[in-house]
Structures are given as structure tokens and as C-alpha cells.
């Protein structure tokens, strides 16, 4: 369906909840869909060595990241019988409580939508060159590492 169209993944700053509502609404005309699975990453106010995280500032090797996102999409569409898939990831500063990742997969059947969504999340975490600077309330920082 929208498999081949190159997609812009990065958005500047936090992903607003309305974007999610709009994405969902845009799929209500696709009556071959029976299930949507959505994953949202939200910035946690972690305490590290007594200091609280207040935001994460994301940067990326953007050209490579868009290319890897595209490869992940291609692989997902060949592995899973999904009708659509959308990914958005923040760049720049995202405050605690705000959303930095939005993965949205749709299929006729629930298990396929859910598995594909998980696949995207794991692949993004493992393989996309995105970097995160955890900014503390006292304006010091440390670099985030995915676990």
C-alpha cells in the first residue's frame, strides 16, 4: 500500500498526542484493517546519582538513520502481513513526560499488527544511529545508552 513511499521519520521536538489521534483517524477509511498496535516512548524523570533527568536531547546521523528506518520498513513488510506502518522519532529536546517515539502498525489481524510493532521498536532501538543526551535539572548531562 504505502510501502514504497519514502517517509520522513524525524520530527523536531516532542510528538504531540494529537498527531497520534490524526494518524488513527486517517486509517478509518481503510476497512481491511482489523487491528492497530501502537508503541509510544515517553521521557522518564530518572534519578541518576541523586540528580533528576529533566529532558533528553536527541541527535542522529540523519542520512544513515533515514536509510536504516527505510530498511527496517522493507524488512517488516516482507516479514509481516501489515497494511501500513508509521514511525516518528523526535530530534532535539524532549522534556520528561513528553513522547519521543511513535510506532503505529496496522493489519487485518491483531497478532500480526502486534508482532510487527514490536519488531519495529526492537529494530529501532538496536540499529538506528540516534543519540540521546540526558539533561539533568542542574543542566549537567550524561549520554544515554540503550539497554
Amino acid at each position: 500500500m504505502d510501502k514504497k513511499k519514502p517517509k520522513k521519520v524525524f520530527v523536531q521536538g516532542a510528538i504531540p498526542p494529537e498527531k497520534i489521534a490524526n494518524s488513527i483517524a486517517n486509517h478509518q477509511s481503510k476497512t481491511n484493517i482489523g487491528a492497530h498496535s501502537i508503541f509510544l516512548g515517553q521521557i522518564r524523570a530518572d534519578e541518576i546519582d541523586g540528580k533528576m533527568v529533566s529532558a533528553i536531547e536527541y541527535s542522529a546521523y540523519e542520512d544513515m538513520a533515514e536509510r536504516v528506518f527505510h530498511e527496517i520498513r522493507e524488512a517488516a513488510f516482507s516479514k509481516f502481513d501489515i497494511t501500513c506502518a508509521h514511525i516518528y522519532h523526535s530530534l532535539g529536546q524532549v522534556k520528561t513526560g513528553e513522547l519521543c517515539l511513535f510506532v503505529f502498525t496496522s493489519s487485518a489481524h491483531r497478532k500480526i499488527a502486534i508482532e510487527a510493532c514490536n519488531y519495529f521498536v526492537e529494530e529501532i532501538k538496536a540499529n538506528v544511529p540516534i543519540f540521546g543526551k540526558e539533561i539533568f535539572e542542574d543542566e549537567t548531562h550524561q549520554w544515554k545508552v540503550n539497554t
Binding site: G41, A60, Y61, C100, V128, P129, F131, W143
Partner: protein, 78 residues
């Protein structure tokens, strides 16, 4: 040969720059280039640094004129 080096995240912070163009002697291996830059900029936790040549993590390549070599710290997306 000229190659463009790109630095990201904590590595860019250590290097004090995000990009530079170096004139390398012909035949320098990727491994040698990596070691050299890690030493030059005293990049910490060198074992976690991944190198992408022309956006590709497969490092079994010989460097050539015009290559883009990226120094990538651990990924933190999601």
C-alpha cells in the same frame, strides 16, 4: 586520499567538532584510522564505538577517496 569524518554524540563532544576532512595516506586501514582518531581525541569507552563507512556498519572495506567515515557512540533511540 581525502575522507570525511563525522562524529556524533559523546564522540563529537570529545572531539569538539562534528565533522572534518582528512588527507590520509593511501592504504591506511579503517582499523588504523579508528585507533588514530580515538587516541587523538581521547575518546572514552572505545570498545563501544561503531564505525560506519558511507552509512554502512559493515567494516570489511578498504578506504577510498571521498569516503564518509562516521564514529558512532552507543545508540539511544526509542
Amino acid at each position: 586520499m581525502k575522507v570525511t569524518l563525522k562524529y556524533f554524540g559523546v564522540i563529537a563532544e570529545s572531539a569538539g567538532k562534528s565533522e572534518e576532512v582528512l588527507e590520509l595516506e593511501q592504504g591506511l586501514s579503517l582499523r588504523e584510522l579508528k585507533d588514530q582518531q580515538i587516541k587523538t581525541y581521547q575518546i572514552q569507552d572505545a570498545g563501544s564505538v561503531q564505525i560506519a563507512v558511507n552509512q554502512n556498519l559493515n567494516n570489511e572495506v578498504e578506504l577510498k577517496e571521498g569516503d564518509e567515515v562516521a564514529f558512532l557512540p552507543p545508540f539511544a533511540g526509542g
